[in-house]
Symmetry: C2
């Protein structure tokens, strides 16, 4: 592995200096290469699918694993889209002349070598490769083992384009040992790797956090809350709650718990009950809720659970402060919303809630790189350091200070 | 420890919401309290000094440990200076309205709870306390054991001001177990602590990096290089080299290795020899250097050493590329400089060198929060994530997105 990492480090020096023009041209060639080799990709994907069916993989996982001609076209389009984005490196972030007359410029630069550990989704392979390449970073990829054949094929195709352009194939590569033990070793290579991005379930995130000596930007779970204030507009509240829970329950920005101000509970709960029943949402509620509508009683564990299914906890709270206490205790720091028409309540909520994204009168489902119009999404960080919330290309950069002098020395 | 950390976390919610006015007022009161309790501080400092002399602490360490009336006045002045700085929280870093009409604001917020582990310098105790307080963060301090009595006294005084202002004393506190074992336990508390900043020697940095499950921003060693290009202005080169090495050899931004282009070596080396001999600098050099001036031969280990003393390595290189290779191999990523009048050489150097600060025609000694006019210096980060180079108050913040909607849901 050390030999490989040395090459990766060396490649990062080269790739960090490529012009935007050349990077974009190569991304376009990669987009074309995916299409040209569509059959090869699908052939390898079929191997993965066969194995997955033998191992009785559930349908949701199979669904994420399968590649079709259309899907490969989408992957290719994604690369083209990334080629059209603004280069995140060499942005002058700040600049000034100090009292000594030094011209100080703070300039964005690539991070270096990035490890991405992700689920069994072959399309993530080409996406992450392109995002890292565009931002001048070397990437080491490790997808789920169920998608290994597909990932190998995709990386082969991208590497051919690199080689044709006289670049080291280590600019984009799979981890040399495609096993958990391989990942464990990789996580100790802080001498060579600058950042690890884990994407996936709680188990993976915990494994990486515990074992990594490299800085980690986590794409962790989303346990999101919406608080319906007593000053809420009921129409907005109903529309937003349904959207946040039911539009796509399997994602991290979906709502898990609905908090309702006690003063409006009796009036609004039957309406919510009607809405959610229509959406076949499984409802759990606190004791007070159970007195108003028909729900199973929710316990402490329910409030700690990221369901990722069409299941919702409901809790009646005394006031905004009790809602804030509940959120502080159970939130994963991802996305929270207040529904209210009261200026003071809203500003208090937005200031107090310590989450990456805090909403007034909008669905938590908007926490997303595309909704934020970042151009591309690397992930949604639940870290507080380096990057928080939806991460785009800019978040794959560091910076350095370039200082232009004319012979100055320190007094 | 858990009980204490719970209180610290709770305090961080309060302190994060304090207005600038109140924070500044409290900092002013703290500045006054240090002066009012100067005798008490010095009395406790004397206990540390007595113990230190018994343990034969070297004079450099004793020098950093000792507090006098003047020194306490300086500490107090530093607090006043920090009270006058702009509040780093609640800055709107970015903002836009997306296609859905959501008003998205990226706003700086405190990180939460910060652990600072530092050397035996009592003045760092009040400095770090004030910087964290100003930026709305709770701080847990652990200074060197030689300064324990002084630090306890200083923190007591600051806490009295907190209590008088109805704030939890946990806003500023020492680690409950003031031992290495205590530090080891602290480093595992990622549930409560958001950032660890270690300041000090290589041993401490390594201990913290290895044992921390909390994100670490390192204030690591500085192994800084200056490359004298063949197009250098000799006067600038001599002035800058002497300044970078000799003005204060014990600091991280001092130069350790001077790289000289071979085409000018014979001409410039005797001049450097004269300069450095006058400054009593101990010189080591590569074989080629040893043929031109009288130096001890430098080996691989010398090039890896951050001397922190008036000792210098000299190496003759074939060209800019060889200089860059040497720097890539031995630099700690802190500060590097090129001395040249050639535009292309300079721009190439500044682009290629992967260090926090890269200089053209200026001394590396400028890598410093005060020279960069950041108002205050928390440290100099050799990390690439979150913050790089001189860190001011802004680098003690994270951000969150406040999103103002009017009922939007995701399609």
């Amino acid at each position: 592995m050390e030999q490989f990492l040395k090459k990766a480090k060396k490649a990062s020096k080269i790739i960090s200096q490529l012009s935007s023009k050349i990077k974009n041209q190569i991304l376009e060639e990669m987009a074309k290469a995916l299409i040209d080799n569509c059959d090869y990709i699908i052939k390898n994907n079929n191997k993965d699918l066969e194995k997955a069916r033998k191992n009785n993989l559930n349908s949701a996982l199979l669904d994420r694993l399968v590649l079709t001609g259309d899907k490969v076209q989408e992957m290719s389009n994604a690369l083209l889209a990334i080629s059209k984005l603004k280069d995140p490196t060499n942005r002058v972030l700040d600049g000034w002349v100090n009292q000594d007359g030094l011209n100080i410029q703070k300039v964005s630069v690539p991070l270096g070598v990035i490890g991405v550990i992700y689920e069994s989704r072959p399309d993530v392979t080409s996406d992450c490769a392109a995002l890292c390449f565009k931002s001048g970073n070397v990437v080491i990829l490790k997808g789920g083992k169920e998608a290994q054949n597909s990932s190998v094929a995709i990386v082969e195709i991208l590497q051919e384009v690199l080689i044709k352009n006289n670049l080291a194939k280590e600019c984009i590569s799979l981890i040399p040992e495609y096993t958990q033990e391989g990942v464990r070793k990789l996580l100790k290579q802080d001498k060579y790797i600058d950042l690890i991005i884990p994407r996936g379930g709680a188990g993976l995130i915990e494994f990486v956090s515990k074992n990594s000596s490299i800085p980690v930007v986590k794409h962790d779970k989303g346990l999101c809350h919406i608080f319906i204030d007593k000053y809420a507009d009921f129409n907005k509240a109903r529309k937003i709650a349904i959207n946040a829970k039911c539009q796509r329950p399997s994602v991290c920005n979906a709502m898990e718990t609905l908090l309702i101000h006690q003063d409006i509970a009796e009036e609004i709960l039957p309406l919510f009950y009607e809405d959610f029943t229509q959406e076949k949402t499984k409802l759990l509620g606190c004791e007070k809720t159970a007195k108003i509508i028909k729900v199973k009683l929710a316990n402490e564990e329910n409030f700690q659970t990221e369901y990722l299914t069409n299941t919702l906890n409901i809790k009646i709270v005394k006031d905004l402060d009790e809602a804030l206490l509940h959120i502080a205790r159970f939130s994963s720091g991802h996305s929270e919303a207040i529904i209210s028409e009261n200026y003071t309540q809203i500003e208090y909520f937005l200031a107090q809630v310590d989450s990456a994204c805090v909403y007034a009168n909008a669905s938590t489902r908007f926490t997303d790189g595309s909704c934020f119009e970042l151009g591309a999404e690397v992930g949604i960080s639940t870290n507080k350091l380096h990057a928080r919330g939806p991460m785009g290309l800019n978040e794959l950069t560091s910076y350095k200070f370039k200082i232009y002098g004319k012979g100055q020395i320190r007094a």
